[in-house]
Symmetry: C2
Subunit: 242 residues, 2 copies
């Protein structure tokens, strides 16, 4: 049994829509996991819904997703109705990535405001947060985890850092991440070269970090890794066992 | 409850001592996992005993270990009583590795004979075998898995292949391994450079292979990975749940 609550997060420049999945049973205040969606996805893309329902329904954890900048209900009018691949192709991959990268500060502020709104809407334990975000969810998740001390554990991956960008703000944020991390890498990722993914894992400042590598492309993460990620989050945050 | 059986495997050139751990309950013929010890270790080194007891005691699997060539009761007289590190230092790392490498055909034959002896000594399902062997256990395990069609799943790692040895017999064996593999790599392994470990993972012919990478040195595999390995073997072989 899962309860789903839709929320609106007031922000300068426009409201941010959010959705909160809660365990159906009223067993105290569950720990909260932030779910950062990937590029071209949104807060209620099928995978996000499945993950939110899995966390709330089977692991005793609450899950919060927001539409990240330029995504979901925040998609620019001229891109509404296009698929993620079409949007990337139309803008070009470099411009698409540059736009997402330039939204990092906005995304961090959106997340921090959303945590407060969620904590006001339901009984949640927000002193120790989990974070799950792959691909664009890692682009924003690493600076967020570096800036937000309440994040206590993170699942990251499907991203990368070219070695020549080792001095970037993103790289510096990666070095400041110190919480336990489960990092997923697809060995044949067509969007992020293998070496760039390994470089980013290497850079993470966490003493406890584990990388799971599987063959296949960007969208081919094995189902088993989702179970491993949920177990990793639950192991570090607690939460009721089903 | 675990039953332990000591076995002797007759071989030209000298008997091979073996030990078999069996589930205490008589619940049919359990699947068998071969445990290949690391360099300088032997069939009843503390880690091997713990793993054998874990497999037989909690996972409904049988486990078989042998003293590999030049190890355990097969240690050359002038090296008896020395630690693994002392033996490596005295011979030099290159000579130590060359001696182990040259024992590959012997080790494969030892394993195949030991499987037959074990199957004659207890009711075992040996049509689908598991293999667990890190470091020297992978040096011998990859050629064994390539040669022995009954091996259906393997846990490997803490080893490596320099890119310039991509044409070696060992590399060719790695390409012929096609069973599901869990591959463990220590990011700061002082005995096998990171890049060599990644090269070997890349080379494995298995469609289903997963690499778990953790910070730390050769002997620092986190305890959690042992649990993951047992779950991986059990998931592919079956076996009773405790």
């Amino acid at each position: 049994l899962v309860r789903k609550v839709s929320l609106t997060v007031p922000r300068v420049g426009g409201d941010v829509p959010a959705v909160l999945w809660l365990p159906g049973t009223e067993a105290g205040a569950p720990p909260l996991v932030l779910l950062g969606h990937g590029g071209g996805m949104h807060k209620e893309s099928p995978f996000m819904v499945r993950l939110g329902e899995l966390l709330a329904g089977q692991s005793g954890l609450a899950a919060l997703a927001i539409d990240l900048p330029h995504h979901g209900e925040r998609t620019p009018a001229r891109e509404v109705g296009l698929s993620a691949a079409e949007r990337r192709r139309r803008m070009g991959l470099a411009a698409w990535r540059a736009r997402n990268d330039s939204a990092t500060a906005q995304a961090i502020g959106d997340w921090q405001a959303a945590i407060d709104v969620a904590a006001g809407a339901a009984a949640l334990a927000v002193d120790r947060l989990g974070y799950y975000g792959l691909s664009m969810g890692t682009r924003f998740g690493i600076p967020l985890a570096a800036a937000e001390p309440r994040i206590a554990v993170a699942v990251l991956g499907l991203f990368g850092l070219p070695a020549q960008r080792a001095g970037s703000a993103f790289a510096q944020a990666a070095r400041r991440v110190t919480v336990p991390v489960l990092y997923l890498l697809q060995w044949d990722d067509e969007l992020f070269p293998r070496g760039d993914g390994l470089t980013l894992f290497d850079l993470l400042g966490s003493a406890e970090k584990t990388m799971h590598v599987n063959p296949g492309g960007h969208l081919g993460v094995p189902r088993e890794e989702i179970r491993a990620a949920v177990g990793f989050l639950r192991g570090h945050l607690g939460g009721a066992v089903s």
